[in-house]
Amino acid sequence: MFKAMRASDLLKPRPEGLYCPPGDFFIDPVRPVGRALITHGHSDHARSGHRSVLATQETLDIMGLRYGEDFAGTTQAAALGETLDIDGVAVTFRPAGHVLGSAQICVEHGGMRIVASGDYKRQKDATCLPFEPIPCDVFITEATFGLPVFRHPPDHEEIARVLKSAAQFPERSHLIGAYALGKAQRVMRLLRDAGYDRPIYIHGALAKLSEYYQSQGIDLGRLEPATVESRGKADFAGAIVVGPPSAFADRWARRFPDPISCFASGWMRIRQRAKQGGVELPLIISDHADWDELIITIKETGAEEIWVTHGREEALVRWCELEGIAARPLHLVGYEDEGD
C-alpha cells in the first residue's frame, strides 16, 4: 500500500527522546522540551520541566504527586480512545496495562500509523486497564525482558508462595521489596485477592501513591505505616511489610524480627540475581511483558516493522528476523527499569 509518509519521518530518535517532526512533539522525553506526550508515570518516562504535557489524567495526577503541582507549564488530559489532532497528526492514547494510567500512544499521519507502546504487559492486573493491541504499520516495543529465559508465572501463584512462607515462619516478618509506583499496589491488591485480610505494613515512601490508588477505587485494604517508632519488634512477627527495595538493605529494616527478604520483580526469574541481592523469597511479578507476551503482541499488532527499545534488543530483533518481520533496535538513551 502506498504511504505518503515514511515511518522514519513520522517518529525519529533524538537525544531528548522520540520526536515527531510534523506534530512537533516528543514521546517520553528525558530532557525538558516544549511539548511532551507521556505514556506513564515512572520517573524515567515522566520527567518534570516540560512546557506542556499531554498524558492520561492518572499519569498527570501521579506526576503531580511526585514532582509537585508545578511539574509542567501546562497540562492536558488525554482521554483513552479519543483521537486528538496535533498539527495534523492524529494521536490516540490506549491502555498499556503497565501501571495505573499507563497508555500506548498511537501516532498517525499520511496513512502511516506507528504505535509507541511505552512499557506494557499482558498479564491481567486489577490495578490498571488491560493492554489493547492496536493494528499498526510500525510497533515500537520495549524489551526489558526480551530474552527467551524470561517467562513470568501467573502472579497469583507467586503471591501464594508468600502466604505459604508466612504460615511456615510465623515468628518472622516478610519484607516485600516492590517499586513505589504500580508494583507495590499490585502486590497489595494480589494479597487481598488471595484472601489476606490482616493489615499490610508499608514504608513511608509508598504512602502517597497507595492513597492515590485507593482514591481511584482500587481497594488495597487496611494499610498501616511500618514506621511507627513505638511499635515493638515482636509486633511485626508474622507481618507482611511492603517497601521500596532499597529500604531493605537500610537500617530501616532492623525494626523487623528476623525478616525474610522478598523481592517482587521479573528479574527474580534468574536465581543468581536473587542470590546476589540477598533475596530469600524471589517473587516473579513483573509489570513488563515477558518473552511470550512480547512475541504474541508483535504478532497481534500485525506490524510490518518493529522498533525495539530499552532492554535486550538483540534477541527480539533476531526473533523478528526468523519470523520474516523487519526489525531494528531504536537506540534511545535514558530509560532504566524503574518499574521492575
Binding site: P148, W252, A253, K275, L322
Partner: protein, 533 residues
C-alpha cells in the same frame, strides 16, 4: 514433582540452618510416600540415576530452538541447567494432563536405557513446569548443590520424629530409598526399623572445649591425655566381610580411601583419626592430608604419595563384642592389644601422653612434637563410650589460636537477622616494598564479635564506603585510614586460589582495634613465616 521443585528453589536461597530445617521438616510432613523418601535420597546423594552430560542437554535444547537465541540466553544466565529449564519450548498445543510425581519421574529415568535416556528426559521436560524442569535437570546432571548436607537432612528427620539425630545416623546405612519404614517410625505408626545390614555406623562420642576454670575443678589422676590430631575423624567398621569407613557424621567415605579400606581385614569397629604418611616413619601435615580430601577419584600416584592411615584411639566393638559400655581404661587395653594385630603401615595407636599435673600438660600442649597436633584430649579413665557430646567425660584442650592484625577491606550484607547489617568482612595485610605498600586480602570472617560491635562496624562501613557492588561495599583502607581487626585463626594453608597465597582455617574476629593505625597492621611476611615454620 512440583513440591520437590519448590523445596529446591527455597533451599537454594535460604541461608539459615533453622530456615532450611523448617522447610525440610514441613516437606517431609506434608508429602506422602514414596515421593518424600526419594527427595530425601536425592538430597543425601543416595539416589541412583544414570547421568546425562551437559553436551547432551545442550544438544536436546538446540534441536528445539534457534541456537542463536539459546546462545544469548545462556550467556545471560550463565548456568546451563537453569537456562535450559527456562527456555525449553513446550511442544505446540501440548497441554500435559497430569503433573508427574517425583516417583514417576525417578522411575522413568531409572528405567531408561543409555540410548533412549535423552528421549525420556525430553519427554519429562515437555510435561514439566519451569521449576520442575530445573529439578529434573539437577537430578540427571548429578549433584543438587542446594547447600544442604546429608547431616542436615538427617537432623530434619530427627526434628520430624522428635528423636535424637544419633538414632537416625545409626540406622541410616541399613536403610534404602524410599525409606518408608523410617517415616512410619518417625510418625509413630510403626516400630523403629531393625536393620539386618552389617557394618553399620555407630554415632560418635564428642568432647567439649576446656573452659577457663574447668581444670582447677578436675583431678588430673581421673584423666588420660592424648594428642589431639588435626586429621579427619573416622570410624572403621568391618563385619562379616562388609567394610565401611565412615566420617564422624556417618557418611560412607570408603570410596575416597581405597588404600586404607583394603587393609581393613578384621572384625571390629574402631574410632580414630585419618592421617597421611607411614605411621612407622612420618606423619604428613595438614597440607599433605588435603591432597586426599574432596576428591571424586584418587589416582594411584596420589595414593602412593599420600598413603592414608588410621591412628586409633578407641574400640567400640571387637570380634562381635560391643565394648561401648566398658570404661575407657578397659577399652584402651583391648584396643592396644588389637591394633598390634593390624597392618602397621595402615594402623597405629594414638599414644597416651604422661603427665602428673595440669602445669606439665600445659607445657606439653604449648610445644607439641608435631605440626599436625592441635592440642590435647582429656578422657576420663572411667568413661563409657556415649553418643553425642556429654559434658564432663571428654575434653579437648586446643593450642591457643594464632592472631594477626589485619585491615578491613570489604564488607558484605548478612542474611536473616543480619540482612540490614554489613556482617561478613574481608580483611587484608600489607604487602609490597616500603613506601608503596598495598593491602592484599587474606581471609573473610563473619563472627567473633558481639551485637554491639556489629553495630559499630556496620556504622563504620556505611560511613567509609568508597564503592558498592551488589551486597558488597568496598571500605576506605589505606595507610592513614582503616579499621584494624585482630583476627584469630587455627592454622594456615598454602593456597593457589587466593592472591595472597595463603588460606586461613577457621578465622574469626577476636578484637576490634579502633586504637591501632592502619599502617601498623601486620605484613604478609608474618603469615608466610607461619606457613614455613
Amino acid at each position: 514433582m512440583n513440591r520437590f521443585a519448590e523445596l529446591l528453589d527455597r533451599l537454594v536461597l535460604t541461608p539459615s540452618r533453622n530456615g532450611k530445617l523448617t522447610l525440610l521438616t514441613d516437606y517431609f510432613r506434608s508429602v506422602e510416600d514414596p515421593d518424600r523418601g526419594l527427595a530425601l535420597a536425592a538430597i543425601t546423594g543416595d539416589l541412583n540415576i544414570a547421568a546425562v552430560k551437559p553436551a547432551m542437554l545442550r544438544a536436546l535444547v538446540v534441536e528445539r530452538m534457534d541456537p542463536v537465541l539459546f546462545g544469548y540466553s545462556y550467556d545471560y544466565v550463565g548456568d546451563l541447567a537453569e537456562t535450559v529449564s527456562l527456555v525449553w519450548p513446550q511442544p505446540q498445543g501440548h497441554i500435559p494432563n497430569h503433573v508427574p510425581t517425583l516417583a514417576e519421574v525417578v522411575a522413568r529415568l531409572q528405567a531408561a536405557s543409555r540410548s533412549d535416556g535423552p528421549r525420556v528426559l525430553a519427554r519429562l521436560l515437555d510435561d514439566a513446569s519451569i521449576s520442575a524442569r530445573f529439578a529434573i535437570i539437577k537430578l540427571v546432571t548429578g549433584g543438587l548443590r542446594i547447600g544442604v548436607s546429608a547431616r542436615l537432612a538427617k537432623q530434619a528427620l530427627a526434628d520430624l520424629g522428635q528423636v535424637d539425630v544419633a538414632e537416625i545416623e545409626e540406622l541410616w546405612h541399613g536403610l534404602a530409598p524410599p525409606y518408608t519404614d523410617l517415616f512410619a517410625w518417625l510418625e509413630g505408626r510403626a516400630e523403629k526399623p531393625r536393620s539386618a545390614a552389617l557394618a553399620l555406623f555407630r554415632p560418635v562420642m564428642l568432647s567439649n572445649a576446656v573452659d577457663d576454670n574447668d581444670l582447677e575443678k578436675l583431678d588430673p589422676t581421673d584423666y588420660a591425655a592424648e594428642w589431639k590430631w588435626d586429621g579427619i575423624r573416622v570410624q572403621a567398621v568391618c563385619e562379616g566381610g562388609v567394610r565401611r569407613l565412615y566420617s564422624r557424621t556417618g557418611d560412607d567415605v570408603s570410596g575416597a580411601f581405597p588404600d586404607l579400606a583394603a587393609a581393613m581385614n578384621f572384625e571390629a569397629a574402631l574410632d580414630g583419626e585419618l592421617l597421611v604418611g607411614d605411621p612407622r616413619e612420618a606423619t604428613g601435615t595438614f597440607s599433605d592430608l588435603q591432597q586426599r580430601l574432596n576428591r571424586k577419584s584418587v589416582s594411584p600416584k596420589i595414593q602412593q604419595q599420600y598413603p592414608a592411615f588410621m591412628r586409633c584411639y578407641d574400640a567400640l566393638q571387637i570380634d562381635g563384642e560391643d565394648l561401648r559400655a566398658l570404661p575407657f581404661a578397659e577399652r584402651r587395653k583391648r584396643l592396644e592389644a588389637f591394633v598390634g594385630t593390624l597392618d602397621p603401615s595402615r594402623f597405629d595407636l594414638s599414644p597416651l601422653v604422661a603427665f602428673s599435673d595440669w602445669e606439665t600438660l600445659e607445657r606439653l600442649r604449648q610445644a607439641p612434637p608435631h605440626p599436625i597436633i592441635e592440642g590435647v584430649m582429656l578422657k576420663r579413665w572411667d568413661s563409657p563410650y556415649l553418643a553425642g557430646r556429654p559434658k564432663g567425660p571428654w575434653f579437648k584442650w586446643k593450642r591457643d589460636p594464632h592472631t594477626i592484625d589485619a585491615v578491613l577491606m570489604y564488607a558484605q550484607r548478612g542474611h536473616g537477622k543480619r540482612s540490614s547489617f554489613y556482617s561478613d568482612y574481608t580483611f587484608g595485610v600489607w604487602s609490597g616494598p616500603e613506601g608503596s605498600e598495598e593491602l592484599v586480602p587474606v581471609g573473610k570472617a563473619y563472627f567473633g564479635f558481639t551485637d554491639e560491635e556489629l553495630r559499630e562496624i556496620d556504622k563504620y562501613v556505611r560511613d567509609n564506603t568508597i564503592e558498592r557492588f551488589g551486597p558488597v561495599r568496598s571500605v576506605r583502607a589505606d595507610r592513614r585510614n582503616g579499621l584494624v581487626l585482630e583476627v584469630a585463626f587455627e592454622g594456615l594453608n598454602r593456597s593457589t586460589r587466593h592472591k595472597s597465597g595463603v588460606a586461613m582455617r577457621f578465622p574469626r574476629i577476636s578484637r576490634l582495634r579502633w586504637d591501632k593505625p592502619a599502617a601498623e597492621a601486620d605484613r604478609i611476611e608474618t603469615l608466610q613465616a607461619l606457613l614455613d615454620s
